[in-house]
Subunit: 396 residues, 2 copies
């Protein structure tokens, strides 16, 4: 991420601290090459070695406290006003800096529900508690979940521009892949072809290379989140692909569905079209209902009910997640009220958030119908960022 | 990492559990694309989406408990005997699995001192505590630090073979770079040249591209861990480079020092040679003292004292760290007893560990002398994995 974008996100963090009336946000980390708090890419933009604290205050001050050998690098970044080094022990500098601001609330990165707001490791939490134990600040620690959720969710114009471009490029690769898909080609070969296009164009993959893209051809496939196999595309298969790229630090995440004609067919069979259309219409219906203030589970309910009302089994996952720097980004989810999603389905949808909508259903004896689109939440509704799939793509 | 190496490390983990008399090691994670416990690359080898538990027992059983959509992927990996999916909530499956083994000690990944043993986030810790609160197991949680320290530290033959190859290739690139270094070339250009060789040969970088390699030419440079600048190499500069590659999942980490001749010189000035030789000899002395059972701080003391006894200032960091899958790997450090290193300088050195030895000293008006070698601890001492730098490299 460019320094300008880091500064833009820091400025946005300050606004959010004011809005939520939180005095200070403290990111407390070490050895970020070994394990990296996801907030670092957002508002730090470089790495650290020893215990390090990045502090952003409601008043707009920014201070980085670092092992002395990391100081030059951070100054070269130029994104924090104060860069303070320590040699032997961070405690005094850290407590001294906090003291200067006398904060009533200090947000730190832990969250039971959101992985992106849970970058503080338990060992580092114990260190922090130890440093603060004789100060009034120990009692003033709160979760940064609502800061991070807003900061990652509310996309700036520069972020949206990058994301739109990533989506366009993803759809181009998907389009070109249609010419490669044919009977006899394996799932792995389709995936390798797509990866070659990604590499050629200088993009990254949005998630682990093992299953980006995921390619599923025909009935009885491995199911979502599994890698492509040696299974070959056959006439009569419904084939679907889940794929995203990473471009200038931001991800796309889209799915499309194909049908491979059998000899003598000139279109997909009725039952395939019916399944495909139920998915397509459930996405349209979901998008019509997304607007600021609604809770994610309400939207999931609408799609889930539409699909089961049409006689299909419900999808075993959430309807949609946010997208941003990560393929699974932000806080709130369009998810059912299952325990595994914690409080995330209850979050209110906000303007500027980018969600996927990605229901699925199995079409018996043919394969899985899935479409995944991306929408951005607007003042009164949402807009598609991806040009929605209207017809099942036919492979002749 | 290959599946075979994952299996090898799992088998080693079982041995270590027996040795330490710990019944169960529990890795508890989620959304590993967003934040990844460093143990996952070592004994899991793939990613997960929802809350997931990877359990290894003293008896050699392995169980992965995953969100249902991650199950197929994990089965395809074939590294865990039992792969169990859940749809809504991990709690019952997790507690049920633990119950089956009735462990007296359950090691989880938190550590105040070692980042590599601190992969459990605080939010996930709170989740785990909640799941276990009505069971006897809450009281039986201990830190996995000694397991991870041994597992990452004690290199298997296959690991050492890969690491040796990485070191050879790194030294080749450093050698070739000597021909590129000349007056008028900038630090950034030297770094770009080295990166082009890395890319050409299909390697990765051992740490953040911003400062891998780090290149420092002349006096008053930015200091360790900073990126290369536009500063140009000049006659009379001492130049040093810190560089490592990533090869088959393992890192190298080495430093070398050059001197750029002035007009009329045919060797480096006395004070430059003296500084260089003090570094070289301090490394030899350190290596002669490394053996199983000694504590890291003792070795650091020896090098630090040798350097200050020779009239130079002490280096503001540790003498050495372990190397492995990460450039900064393992537990124990060859570090001074400074608070920032916690208990790591007190760990006993073990056979099979790979350490860097990397003292530094400033040569006034010329630049920084640093050499970084890698050694592997043997039964009674240690052996150099890198062919040690004996002479300052001369640039004519």
């Amino acid at each position: 991420m460019s320094k300008e974008m880091i500064k833009e996100k820091i400025a946005q963090a300050v606004k959010i601290l004011r809005e939520k009336n939180i005095d200070m946000w403290l990111i407390f980390v070490r050895e970020s090459s070994n394990i990296k708090d996801p907030s670092m890419d957002m508002v730090v933009g470089t790495s650290c070695t020893w215990q390090s604290a990045y502090i952003i205050t409601k008043d707009g001050d920014t201070t980085a406290i670092l092992g002395s050998l990391d100081v030059a690098n951070m100054r070269m970044q130029g994104t924090y006003k104060n860069v303070v080094g320590y040699l032997r022990y961070i405690k005094d500098t850290l407590v001294g800096t906090i003291n200067k601001y006398r904060p009533n609330k200090i947000a730190i990165n832990f969250s039971r529900d959101s992985s992106l707001a849970d970058g503080l490791t338990h060992g580092m939490y114990l260190e922090l508690v130890d440093y603060l134990k004789d100060t009034p600040y120990l009692e003033r620690l709160i979760s940064s979940e609502e800061i991070i959720s807003a900061l990652r969710g509310r996309k700036t114009t520069s972020e949206l521009d990058i994301m739109k471009h990533a989506i366009e490029e993803t759809l181009k690769i998907i389009d070109e892949t249609t010419h490669f898909i044919r009977p006899g080609v394996s799932e792995k070969e389709v995936a390798a072809y797509m990866k070659s296009l990604v590499k050629q164009r200088g993009f990254g993959l949005a998630w682990e290379a093992d299953y980006c893209p995921s390619v599923f051809s025909g009935p009885d496939t491995a199911g979502a989140h599994a890698g492509p196999t040696d299974r070959k595309v056959e006439p009569g298969h419904v084939l679907n692909i889940d794929f995203g790229i990473s471009y200038q630090g931001y991800c796309s995440d889209l799915q499309r569905t194909w049908y491979v004609l059998k000899d003598g067919e000139d279109k997909a069979p009725e039952e395939v079209l019916r399944g495909f259309n139920v998915i397509k219409d459930s996405i349209k219906l979901s998008a019509e209902n997304i607007k600021p203030g609604r809770q994610g589970y309400e939207i999931d309910d609408i799609a889930r009910k539409y699909i089961t009302d049409n006689g299909y089994e419900e999808y075993p996952h959430a309807l949609g997640h946010q997208v941003g720097r990560m393929a699974h980004d932000g806080g709130g989810l369009l998810a059912p009220k299952w325990e595994r999603y914690g409080d995330l389905p209850f979050k209110k949808i906000e303007q500027g958030e980018v969600y996927t909508i990605e229901p699925r259903l199995p079409i018996k004896d043919f394969g899985i119908a899935t479409i995944e689109e991306e929408v951005v939440v607007t003042e009164n509704g949402c807009e598609f960022l991806s040009s929605p799939q209207q017809e099942i793509i036919i492979v002749r």
